[in-house]
Amino acid sequence: MSPRTMATRDRRRSGSELVGEGGRLLPAVGLLGGLAVWWTVTALGSGIITNFAPAATFAVLAELVASPSFYDHVLVSVYRFAVALGLCLTVGLPVGIVVGYFKAAERATTVLFQFMRMISPLAWFPIAIIVFGVGTRSAVFVMFMAGLWPIVLNTAHGIATIDDDWITVGESLGGDTRALLRRVVVPAVIPDMLTGIRLSIGILWIILVPAEMLGVNTGLGYLILDARDRFSYAEIPAIMLVIGFIGFWLDLSVRRLHARWNWG
């Protein structure tokens, strides 16, 4: 047994000694690193790529953030996202509960759902446009087809794998079916639901951009293409930063919610 192989659990991951007092700064280091790569690529390149340099981007970003019309686009994007998420929850949670609870429903739907899940939501676009026409409804439909599955599948999994003994205890304590559902089954499944919702939120926010590039003339996705058409190239990475920022914030808030409901 050489001393080298002996390591305490804490030290087994190399560099863990850095994650101490200065650990809080590490995310900032990562962000600065990303910025450095961005700057290097645009500074070393020539031609059109120089348009996307950080300095120009941040200058445009400052203008964007100061202009009221920009917020109209942000709001309409957030609105579409919220409607799509609402639809995913309204359909996904009940379907997930039924599929998780009834073995036959699970058998009947597993192949179908796995099949549907693998069809790119963007493939639905022509159908959406033909059925719903150009506009918010098409974009929301495409997002819905993308964000539904994680909620259905995680909810179903949570219901199917709930600890039977928890139910037995609840029964022996005198709970009827309704009380057991409300006080045992639902709280026990919430972590799985939140996992599904978190995945769904990520997918919805990602699909939002291409959805808005295809069928509408408002929103952040549309704005990116519009910036290209107006030859204001620095605006493109500026809008991307805004998209990333909102997405990060959305994910962070669900993660916080999830942490409160996570009992390991």
Binding site: D165, V169, S172, G174, A179, A188, G264
Partner: protein
């Protein structure tokens, strides 16, 4: 049963247990083996008798027991002792209504057991606390499941009774095994059950914690005056806790022998207690060798 009435007797534990021991000794001569008679050590007005008659349980090809009779008197502690796989947990599940018998019937307080009910509370081998609730909320869940608002004073007293009043707001994940099992016991007691059915509740605990909890269980059963059926594979535990120990043989033997425990004191080094232990061990050995 009211918590207030027994709170007064908590302090004079010494005098109380002396009286209890006398009563225990008296009743011993009055009742023969498992043929139940009235008058047990803990005469509790609210406690209910548990009666199993001609009980048969079969899983497909396996006969667990056949025509089993058991009577547990009000306020009595009856231990079911036997080797692994002898069907003692199955018997407890039948008493609790968690499983249906193949034949025969179970009555608690004269009422046929057809399913689980809060009046016969079960303490399981694992604490099975709900991890999304605090310790206190876990104790409160019984009344809530029955659609009642839990009585805050009652819950306080139960938490104190099991020694968890300091960690009422803690997460269940932060409890030790012994503390979790105390919380589980308090959760069952919050329903004011007439009968306590315990399925090897201390078997996963270390020896010291186990002994501590055994003493506490005896104190609690005495204070609340409930009837208790306690499943265990630990001879010392059975002899220490039980007014009677029902010894079960390998399937499908059922209950082979019922040993009445007459020890006047529950001191673990008392001679009479050791003699009871030896007698129980002999019977268990006889059953095991068959």
């Amino acid at each position: 049963m009211s918590i207030e009435s027994r709170a007064a007797t908590t302090d004079d534990d010494g005098g109380d247990s002396g009286g209890g021991a006398d009563a225990r000794a008296d009743s011993a001569s009055a009742v023969e083996q498992d043929a139940g008679g009235a008058g047990t050590a803990r005469s509790a007005a609210d406690a209910a008798p548990v009666v199993a008659s001609d009980l048969t349980k079969r899983y497909d090809e396996t006969l667990v027991f056949d025509g089993l009779d058991l009577r547990v008197d009000p306020g009595e502690v009856c231990c079911l002792l036997g080797p692994s796989g002898c069907g003692k947990t199955t018997l407890l599940h039948l008493l609790a209504g968690l499983e249906d018998p193949t034949g025969g019937r179970v009555e608690i307080d004269g009422e046929a057991v057809t399913g689980p009910d809060y009046r016969w509370g079960v303490v399981f081998q694992d604490p099975l606390l709900y991890p999304w609730l605090s310790v206190r909320e876990n104790v409160e869940i019984g009344p809530r499941l029955r659609g009642e608002e839990p009585d805050a004073d009652h819950v306080d007293e139960l938490l104190e009774l099991v020694g968890l009043d300091g960690v009422a707001d803690a997460d269940t994940a932060d409890l030790s095994g012994g503390m979790a099992q105390r919380a589980s016991l308090a959760r069952t007691l919050a329903n004011d059950p007439d009968v306590l059915l315990l399925d090897e509740p201390f078997s996963a605990l270390d020896q010291l914690t186990k002994m501590e909890l055994q003493d506490e269980l005896l104190r609690i059963v005495d204070e609340l005056g409930v009837t208790a059926v306690f499943v265990t594979h630990d001879i010392d535990e059975a002899v220490y806790l039980g007014d009677r120990v029902a010894i079960m043989g390998p399937v499908p033997a059922g209950i082979e022998h019922v040993e009445r425990i007459d020890s006047e004191t529950r001191s673990r080094d008392d001679e009479a207690f050791l003699a009871e232990r030896a007698a129980t061990f002999e019977h268990l050995e006889a059953v095991g060798l068959e």
